[in-house]
C-alpha cells in the first residue's frame, strides 16, 4: 500500500493541469528563509567568510586581522569597559548634535515651506554650503573649538542640518492643497491648519530627513573624533592605529557599524509610532 502511494507521487508531479497551477508548498530550506533575521544572518555570514578568506590569503595581521582576532579584541575591550565608555561618549555626542540640528533645521525648513520670501533669501546660502562636506570644516573648527568634545558635535550638527532642512521644506511644500482646502471649509483657522494639517502632512518626509541626518552625522563622527577629540570611537581607532593594534581598530569599526545600525532601528521604531498611517498602505 505504501509503495503505491510513493509510486503515485511522481506521476502527479509530472501531470499538467490544476495540480501544477496550485502554489507549490515550499520545502524545508525555503521555509527556514522565511524566519525573520535568517537572510540578514546569511548575508553577514557570507561577508565574514569572504573576509576570513581574504585575511588568510593576505596573511598579514596588521593589514587585515582574521575574524577571531577581531572578535577577541572586541571581547577584551568590552571586558575592561573602555569600549562602552567610548561608545557612550560618541553616542551622546550624536544625540546632542541631532537634537541641536532638529531644533534649528526643522523650524527653519518649516518656515521656508510656509514663506516664499524666506525661502528666496535662505535657499541660496543653503545650496552653497550643502555640497561642502562636514569634514572640510574640521581645520577651521580646530582653530575655533580646539581638540575636545565640542568639535565633533559641531561637525555632526552641520552634517545633520541639511537633510533635515531640505526634507522639512519638501514635506511642507508637498502638503496636499486639497486637505488644506477641506480644513478651510470647516472653519479652521490658519494657525490650526498649520499645526493640524500641514505638520502631519509633512511629518513622514521629516522623519525620512531625520534618518538621513542621523546616517550622515554618524558617518562624519569618525573623522571628527579622529582628528578633533581626545575620546570617543573615532579617537580610539586612531589611538590603536598608532599602536599597530589592528584587531582593536577593526573591533571599533565594528562597534561603529553596530551602534549606527541600532540607532537607525530606534528611529524606524519612532517612525512607526509617530506616523502609523504610513505603515502597511495598499495600492489604492
Amino acid at each position: 500500500m505504501e509503495k503505491t502511494q510513493t509510486g503515485a507521487k511522481p506521476a502527479s508531479r509530472d501531470g499538467d493541469g490544476p495540480a501544477n497551477a496550485a502554489p507549490q508548498r515550499p520545502g524545508l530550506p525555503a521555509m527556514l528563509l522565511e524566519i525573520p533575521g535568517v537572510v540578514p544572518a546569511l548575508s553577514f555570514a557570507g561577508f565574514v567568510a569572504l573576509w576570513w578568506a581574504g585575511a588568510a590569503w593576505n596573511g598579514n595581521s596588521i593589514q587585515l586581522p582574521t575574524p577571531p582576532e577581531v572578535f577577541g579584541a572586541l571581547v577584551s575591550l568590552a571586558r575592561d569597559g573602555e569600549l562602552f565608555t567610548n561608545a557612550g561618549l560618541s553616542l551622546s555626542r550624536l544625540i546632542v548634535s541631532m537634537s541641536i540640528a532638529v531644533l534649528i533645521a526643522v523650524p527653519l525648513g518649516f518656515w521656508m515651506g510656509l514663506s516664499e520670501t524666506l525661502r528666496r533669501y535662505v535657499d541660496p546660502t543653503i545650496e552653497l554650503l550643502r555640497p561642502i562636506s562636514g569634514i572640510a570644516w574640521i581645520p577651521l573648527a580646530l582653530f575655533i573649538f580646539g581638540v575636545g568634545g565640542v568639535l565633533p558635535v559641531f561637525i555632526m550638527t552641520y552634517v545633520a542640518f541639511f537633510p533635515l532642512v531640505m526634507n522639512t521644506f519638501a514635506g511642507v511644500r508637498g502638503a496636499d492643497p486639497k486637505l488644506v482646502a477641506a480644513a478651510r471649509t470647516m472653519g479652521v483657522g490658519r494657525l490650526r491648519i498649520t499645526a493640524r494639517v500641514v505638520l502631519p502632512s509633512a511629518l513622514p518626509t521629516i522623519m525620512v530627513g531625520v534618518r538621513l541626518a542621523l546616517a550622515g552625522a554618524w558617518s562624519a563622527i569618525i573623522a571628527a573624533e579622529l582628528i578633533g577629540a581626545p575620546t570617543g570611537l573615532g579617537f580610539a581607532i586612531e589611538w590603536y592605529r598608532e599602536l599597530l593594534a589592528s584587531p582593536k581598530v577593526f573591533a571599533y569599526v565594528g562597534v561603529i557599524a553596530g551602534v549606527g545600525y541600532l540607532a537607525d532601528l530606534a528611529l524606524q521604531w519612532l517612525q512607526r509610532r509617530l506616523t502609523p498611517w504610513t505603515v502597511g498602505g495598499g495600492l489604492s
Binding site: L179, A182, R184, T185, G187, R192, P200, W277, G280
Partner: protein, 273 residues
C-alpha cells in the same frame, strides 16, 4: 432687476477661466452661469464629465474665485470659505493621519462648528455619525485601510457632523453599492429636513451622474453642458414630499428621468463617439 425673495445663493454671470501655468492657454471651465438657489432648496446638478460641475461647487464653497461675475450668499458676495458652507469633495479629501472617528470629528474639534459644543457633545455627534453612515466597527481604522465606498461614507459623515447650513456635495454617493446608496439617499433627505417646513430645511447642492438619483432627491435639477460649461436647462421636480421608495415607480418619476436623459443624451453620445 427683479429681486428674488429667499434666495440663499445667487450666481450672477459666473465665468471661470483656468490659465495653464506654462503655455498660458486659457480653458473656459464655466461660462456665464446665472442661477438662484432658494433657502431650503435641494438642487441637483447633472451633466457630462468635464462640464464644470466641480468648478461651480468650489466657487460656491469660496475655494476658487470666479474670473467674472459674483456669487452671493444671503445677498453678500462670497469672498472665501466658511463652515456655513460645508463641502464634500469628489475625491473625499480625508486626512490620512487620522482615524475614521477623528476625521469625522476634525471640524468639530478644530473649527467653528464645534465652538458651542462641549467635549461630550462632540463625542456624541461623532458616534451618531459613525452609525449614520454604518461604519461602526471601522471607527479606529485609517483611511488607507478602508474600501473606496467606506472612504466616501467617512467624507459624508464628516460633512454632516459639522452641521453646515449649506451642503455642497460632489458625487457623494457615487462609489457606493446600490443598496447602501438607496439607504443614504433617504437619510440625506431626512437630514436635509424633508419632513420639516421649508424655512427649517438646509440648502443642498448635490452633483451626481445618476439621473434617477437626481430626480429622487431634488426640488430642481440643473442640467449642464460642455464646451464651455453652461446651464443648459433647469427642471422643477414636482414630485410630492416626503418621498419614499414608492415614488420611483410612479409615471411622473419616469417622465422626469426621461426628460433629463433627452437633454444630456446628445452630449453623452458625442462624448463616447
Amino acid at each position: 432687476m427683479q429681486a428674488v425673495e429667499n434666495a440663499k445663493l445667487r450666481l450672477k454671470d459666473v465665468t471661470k477661466t483656468f490659465i495653464a501655468p506654462r503655455t498660458l492657454k486659457p480653458t473656459v471651465a464655466v461660462s456665464d452661469v446665472t442661477l438662484d438657489i432658494m433657502r431650503g432648496e435641494f438642487v441637483c446638478i447633472v451633466g457630462p464629465s468635464g462640464c464644470g460641475k466641480s468648478t461651480v461647487l468650489n466657487m460656491i464653497a469660496g475655494l476658487e474665485a470666479p474670473s467674472d461675475g459674483t456669487i452671493f450668499m444671503d445677498d453678500r458676495p462670497i469672498s472665501g470659505p466658511s463652515a456655513e458652507r460645508g463641502v464634500m469633495f469628489q475625491d473625499y479629501a480625508l486626512f490620512p493621519w487620522l482615524t475614521v472617528q477623528d476625521n469625522i470629528g476634525f471640524g468639530l474639534r478644530n473649527g467653528t462648528p464645534g465652538h458651542s459644543l462641549s467635549a461630550g457633545e462632540i463625542k456624541d455627534r461623532i458616534e451618531a455619525h459613525i452609525d449614520l453612515v454604518r461604519l461602526r466597527g471601522s471607527e479606529a481604522k485609517y483611511p488607507h485601510q478602508l474600501s473606496g465606498g467606506m472612504r466616501q461614507r467617512v467624507a459624508l459623515a464628516r460633512l454632516l457632523a459639522n452641521g453646515p447650513d449649506v451642503l455642497l456635495m460632489d458625487e457623494p454617493l457615487g462609489a457606493l453599492d446600490a443598496q447602501t446608496r438607496l439607504i443614504l439617499q433617504s437619510e440625506l433627505l431626512r437630514i436635509w429636513g424633508e419632513t420639516s417646513p421649508t424655512a427649517q430645511r438646509k440648502t443642498a447642492i448635490f452633483i451626481t451622474h445618476d439621473i434617477e438619483e437626481a430626480v429622487f432627491l431634488a426640488d430642481r435639477v440643473v442640467v449642464m453642458s460642455r464646451h464651455p460649461g453652461r446651464v443648459r436647462a433647469l427642471l422643477d421636480i414636482d414630485l410630492p414630499r416626503p418621498r419614499n421608495e414608492h415614488v420611483r415607480t410612479t409615471q411622473r418619476f419616469g417622465e422626469l428621468s426621461e426628460e433629463i436623459w433627452q437633454l444630456i443624451r446628445d452630449e453623452a453620445l458625442e462624448a463616447i463617439a
